[in-house]
């Protein structure tokens, strides 16, 4: 029985315990929660556990198979690293919410049916909104609201799709469905919102850069990767996803070149990475799915590492814009080294983990003969190198001397980053442990001589381009500015709606409010007051005493009665016509 204890329950329990503890005990719990979950998960056999009945449907809280396990392992490993990363944070709040958030992510990937999945999906939305709000500036609060609205809308689309799907098929089980009709289309769109599909991606680049140094690291792991899991489970082989993925890889890199906030650069780069996964899922062959899922796994490791590096810089200097940073390599040498490892990994240098998985995706796309998509993805790979591989470390740690003289990051942050950096190198040199846990058994060797040489050639000449552009002064200087994204239209539409509401709808309501709650009651009051007593009072000049209060109560009663009468009349009229 104890073996079947699902990870989300351990996390929820841990969240309660963290609420009650502090200091070392709290930190021990933070590490123990993912470690215990990990041990439980490795000991459980594939299968369905904790089935229960709800409204005549059989629901399944804990489904373990190869696909869900990969994401489970990744979430648990990163939870250990994140726990370390924030050891020195005294405030428990972010941890309490963070454990619920991570636990819900785990709940979602191990959910065997759509309703359970939806439940965890929405808990994640709420928890992540609170994590954004924890940034505490006015910007964070506003971005949090926008984020919440966006995901609420996405969640409703998903719920609508799920309800339609269940009523059509009679089954709640979450299995491969493919886009066949309205129901499955809505479900896919709901997943797409969380996977940051083009035009639906604005919440990500809006909210993620605004969290605290620590909250943002959590945010970047769970929401999007859960969405990748759901797409891989439900919509693998859906050709539309190949196009969507290719667009996702290409358009964010133009933004990433221009954006000043380095965590925003990483957010755009996150969409670009998700694009590779979405495209792989779209191809849908066993190699492609392995590549996409493996890419999600290593992406969690290296993207968190990069966000941790920038988080450490933000934590120590209070600045995150490229224009304010530079020259920090002398003062934060370890952070610099670990960030560079993350940068080399995301750029898919051979002998770093992402090289293995991204090669699988690219090979599978080439194998199926999608030439233009392949060219787009290789172009995007060069772009990744450019903005995440070079821009991030270069502007933060090298470039010009910014005059900042920060201390090195605290030891616990360095441990977390060092652990992830080591893991990325290890899985790059010795990928067998990762390949063994992937969903399908496919033999694939990324380390052929030709492939390694080609990859180096692509990367080295891209670095050459960056160097020449920079030294010739063509490379665009970073500028403090807003770079409009598609959310311009959402915001514009929102503003227009609010103006319309202020100018037309609210005055209308106000008129009715005045009419029914002020004008009519006061008229009735006047008419129903006891005229004799009124005259008597005026003549006697007697102050209003207890009697006055009673009279007021009596009048309110009358008003309610009259309004009720009105309502009844209104209803009768309404029902007749």
């Amino acid at each position: 029985m104890i073996d079947n204890f699902p990870p989300f329950a351990v996390f929820y329990l841990g969240s309660l315990l963290v609420l009650l503890t502090k200091g070392r005990i709290r930190n021990t719990i933070l590490v123990a929660v993912p470690v215990i979950s990990f041990i439980l998960l490795t000991n459980v056999d594939a299968g369905k556990y904790l089935e229960y009945s709800f409204l005549d449907y059989t629901l399944n809280l804990y489904r373990v198979d190869k696909l869900s396990s990969v994401f489970g392992y990744a979430f648990l490993i990163i939870s250990v690293a994140i726990a370390f990363y924030g050891f020195h944070v005294k405030n428990n709040k972010e941890y309490v919410i963070g454990l619920i958030y991570a636990g819900s992510g785990l709940g979602a990937v191990f959910a065997g049916d759509l309703l359970t999945l939806y439940f965890f999906w929405e808990v994640m939305t709420i928890a992540s909104t609170f994590i954004i709000w924890n940034g505490k500036t006015k910007d964070c609060i506003q971005a949090g609201f926008r984020y919440f609205l966006f995901h609420l809308a996405g969640g409703l689309i998903l719920l609508f799709g799920i309800i339609l799907y269940i009523s059509e098929t009679g089954s709640t089980e979450f299995v491969h469905m493919g886009w066949t009709d309205l129901a499955t289309g809505l479900i896919m769109l709901g997943f797409g919102v969380n996977a940051a599909w083009p035009l639906l991606h604005t919440w990500l680049v809006d909210a993620y850069p605004k969290g605290s140094f620590f909250g943002t690291v959590m945010l970047t792991v769970f929401t999007t990767k859960t969405a990748i899991y759901t797409l891989a489970r439900g919509f693998s082989g859906e050709e539309l996803l190949i196009v969507v993925g290719a667009v996702m890889t290409a358009f964010p890199i133009f933004y990433a070149v221009l954006v000043n906030d380095l965590r925003k650069v990483l957010s755009y780069s996150l969409i670009n990475q998700l694009g590779f996964m979405v495209a792989g899922i779209g191809v849908g062959t066993t190699l492609a799915i392995n590549g996409a899922v493996g890419q999600a796994f290593v992406h969690i490791m290296f993207k968190s590492l990069l966000f941790m590096g920038m988080g450490a810089v933000f934590y120590r200097t209070g600045k995150i814009n490229a224009t304010d940073l530079g020259g920090l390599y002398k003062y934060m040498p370890w952070t610099t080294v670990f960030t560079i490892v993350g940068a080399l990994t995301i750029s898919t240098f051979p002998f770093f983990s992402a090289f293995v998985t991204k090669s699988m995706i690219l090979s599978s796309i080439a194998h199926e003969g999608y030439g233009i998509v392949w060219l787009t993805l290789v172009f995007a790979s060069a772009g990744v190198l450019h903005h995440s591989g070079i821009k991030i470390p270069y502007f933060a740690f090298f470039s010009h001397d910014s005059g900042l003289r920060p201390k090195e990051a605290p030891w616990n942050m360095l441990v977390a980053m060092g652990f992830l950096a080591g893991l990325n190198i290890l899985l790059g040199i010795y990928p067998a442990p990762l390949i063994n846990i992937l969903p399908y058994e496919v033999s694939y060797n990324p380390y052929t001589l030709g492939h390694v040489i080609y990859q180096y050639q692509l990367l080295l000449f891209s670095i050459l381009a960056f160097t020449l552009l920079l030294r010739s002064g063509v490379y665009p200087a970073e500028i403090r500015a807003i770079n409009l994204d598609f959310d311009y239209f959402y915001r514009k539409a929102g503003t227009i709606f609010m103006k319309f509401e202020d100018n037309y709808i609210l005055p209308c309501f106000n008129f009715f409010k005045k009419l029914f709650f002020e004008s009519i009651p006061s008229l009735l009051n006047y008419l129903t007051k006891d005229p004799v007593k009124l005259i008597y009072r005026v003549l006697e000049d007697e102050p209003m005493g207890d009697d006055g209060i009673k009279m007021q109560g009596w009048l309110i009663g009358w008003s309610v009665f009259v309004v009720t009468v009105f309502l009844v009349i209104y209803l009768l009229v309404f029902m007749h016509f």
Partner: protein
């Protein structure tokens, strides 16, 4: 506290740049020595990966700087006004 970093000495930067140029050349030379297994015809062109990477990056930066930025850049308080 002032610290001296390795790139405060311009010589080190020069060495790094020289290393980059040499590595670029080596990767090009190595390509000529191996037998190619490719999916697409264009992969067989000499220096395809190098030139594609180089041109991609230059195009990316030029398009971002001269086309995208003028279209999308606004003042920092654009949404607060």
């Amino acid at each position: 506290m002032e610290k001296k970093g390795i790139f405060d000495n311009p010589r080190n930067l020069k060495i790094l740049l020289a290393a980059l140029y040499i590595l670029c050349f080596v990767s090009f030379a190595a390509e000529l020595l191996i037998h190619k297994h490719t999916y697409f015809d264009w992969e067989k062109w000499p220096l395809f990966y190098g030139s594609y990477g180089f041109i991609s990056c230059v195009m990316l930066v030029l398009v971002a700087k001269y086309i995208v930025r003028p279209l999308i850049m606004r003042d920092e308080d654009f949404y607060d006004r």
